[in-house]
């Protein structure tokens, strides 16, 4: 069932990482991503790994959860690995058979890529695991608020994101229900022909669309009733407050980044 997919990855908790200011967490994640891509030496990746490991330990998120978030990308990893292994030339050949040739450079690049992507996924899922979607949206809205000056509708975008997040579970549930209802009327979703499958989608998409429009219009009225009038003059209940921990974390991230750059320059 579609319902079983975990969406909105937030993993509630009260760890040091959970308590960090989401704005800082986003900036730190940005630094972390940059660190992974700038570093082209093994030590750089090791530094990245240490950074994630530290964050993971502090966040008290079970390692199982991280593995779970990496699992879906394994096929992509395998595919690109094979691709890299066979098509990167240069370096010493390690294995040769007819037209297939694998070089040490290819192995090196492939392992590098795999580790880099795994670290990337691990780091970013830590961000979503420890930060509620609403805090994330909030933080993005504030980080982007300087853009308001050049007429970017930052508040509206953030509002849209909040509503989308709010309605994802509702619409997933609804899709499940519509699929069941149409199956009960004989829709064959397991048909083998492509045409049959396309045909079977129509009775699901149309009701879903109609329902989304109805929900949107009802929600709009409800928001109007609660005095919604855009971002102007709006206040927030949750004030984002940065603490010493935030600055310390940011400092550590910058330190890690600096060492990566330093190693790069050395080589």
């Amino acid at each position: 069932m579609i319902k079983d997919i975990t969406l909105g990855q937030y993993f509630p908790g009260d760890s040091t990482v959970h308590r960090l200011d989401p704005r800082f967490k986003i900036v730190i994640s940005g630094i972390f991503i940059a660190m992974l891509f700038i570093g082209d030496h093994v030590i750089c990746l090791e530094i990245g790994a240490i950074f994630v490991a530290m964050a993971l330990i502090l966040s008290l998120i079970p390692i199982k959860m991280i593995i779970k978030s990496i699992r879906p990308i394994i096929p992509i990893l395998l595919f690109t690995s094979v691709f890299n292994l066979f098509f990167i030339s240069g370096g010493m050949p390690l294995f040769e058979w007819k037209f297939i040739k694998i070089t040490d450079a290819a192995v090196h690049t492939t392992i590098f890529m795999i580790v880099r992507i795994i670290l990337l996924i691990a780091g970013t899922s830590l961000l979503t695991y420890t930060t509620s979607p609403i805090a994330l949206t909030d933080a993005i809205e504030r980080l982007l608020s300087p853009l308001k000056k050049i007429k970017v509708p930052v508040h509206d975008l953030a509002m849209m994101m909040t509503i989308a997040l709010r309605f994802i579970p509702t619409l997933i549930e609804e899709t499940d229900k519509i699929i069941s209802a149409q199956k009960a009327r004989g829709v064959d979703l397991d048909g083998s022909k492509l045409m049959d499958k396309v045909k079977a989608i129509v009775p699901i998409i149309i009701p879903l669309f109609v329902s989304a429009v109805r929900r949107a219009s009802e929600l709009a009225t409800a928001m109007e009733c609660r005095c919604y009038r855009g971002g102007e003059g709006r206040t927030k209940m949750r004030q984002l407050k940065s603490s010493i921990a935030d600055y310390v974390s940011l400092g550590i991230a910058i330190l890690f980044m600096a060492s990566v750059i330093f190693i790069n320059v050395l080589n």
Binding site: G8, P12, S132, P133, I134, T162, I163, L165, R166, P169, T170, E173, R214, R215, E218, L219, T221, A222, M223, E224, C225, R226, C227, Y228, R229, G233, R234, T235, K236, M237, R238, Q239
Partner: protein
């Protein structure tokens, strides 16, 4: 008691249509009253409700809320803050992904300071008995709980009046009972004027006053006892009466002479005991 809300010769039709959805409606609501509005689907009761907080504006006549003309554009948010609305589908009125954020929504829109919002949100959640659920996501709640969150989101604005448009229609009996208990408490404890649109006659019987609408007009406006005693007229406009009232009506049709103003179980029991002893 002063009139909190009042409609004077209110007419309404949708743009580009000829049919009047509301015809010459003159009603008023006193502060602290609890009124049920009955009528079959399409009788105009929801349209009337939307006039009470300036979501719709009259095509003819005037609606006053706390003395403010709803056509006064400058005061539209004064009106909406005074009259809150709760709708039928609990899912389609919750905006935020966390309960307490949703309750804060209206206050944030009104530009209230953050510590004041915090205080009022906690207060509102406690008033509807949802304080322990403040960190939950809406989809983790039952229908009745979602509806109570929606009510909390309204009372955080400290309105003088709440209009509920079939708040219990999509709920199970447990959820319905929860919502009714909450609504009655808001009325008795805080003196909030309640206007409850419903299809459940037993809920209407718990209000102090019932308005029956039919084809855009007010057909009856009286106490539950008076309204429910007019069984035939109610059935003619597609409505029901509580089962106890119907029993009395049926027995009287047979030739007995029971009090036609019986609307709840205890009254019915007493009457039957007297009859049979």
């Amino acid at each position: 008691m002063e009139n909190f809300a009042e409609s004077v010769n209110l007419d309404f039709k949708y743009d580009g249509e000829d049919v009047l959805v509301l015809k010459d409606i003159n009603i008023s609501f006193k502060q602290g009253e609890m009124t049920a509005v009955l009528g079959h689907n399409g009788c105009g009761k929801s349209t009337l409700a939307k006039h009470l907080n300036a979501i719709l504006l009259p095509s003819g006549g005037t609606v006053y809320i706390d003395g403010i003309d709803t056509k006064d554009e400058n005061r539209i948010y004064d009106i909406r803050q005074r009259v809150g609305m709760v709708f039928q589908n609990p899912d389609n009125q919750i905006v935020a992904t966390i309960v307490e954020e949703d309750v804060a929504f209206a206050l944030e829109n009104l530009g209230v300071q953050s510590d004041e919002i915090r205080r009022r949100v906690d207060e509102a959640l406690k008033a509807v008995g949802m304080y322990e659920y403040r960190m939950h996501a809406p989809h983790q709640l039952s229908g009745g709980q979602k509806q109570r969150v929606a009510i909390a989101g309204i009372i955080a604005m400290r309105p003088r009046c709440i209009v509920l448009d079939e708040p219990t229609a999509m709920l199970d009996p447990k959820g319905r009972a929860e919502v009714m208990k909450t609504v009655k408490e808001l009325n008795s404890k805080y003196g909030i004027t309640i206007i409850l649109i419903t299809h459940y006659m037993e809920e209407a019987a718990q209000c102090g006053r019932i308005i029956v609408m039919d084809r855009g007009k007010v057909l009856m406006d009286n106490s539950p006892k008076q309204v429910f005693s007019r069984v035939e007229e109610l059935k003619a406009v597609g409505l029901d009466v509580p089962q106890v009232t119907e029993l009395v009506y049926e027995l009287n049709k047979y030739g007995l002479k029971l009090d036609t103003h019986i609307i709840n179980e205890n009254e019915c029991c007493d009457a039957l005991l007297k009859l049979l002893s």
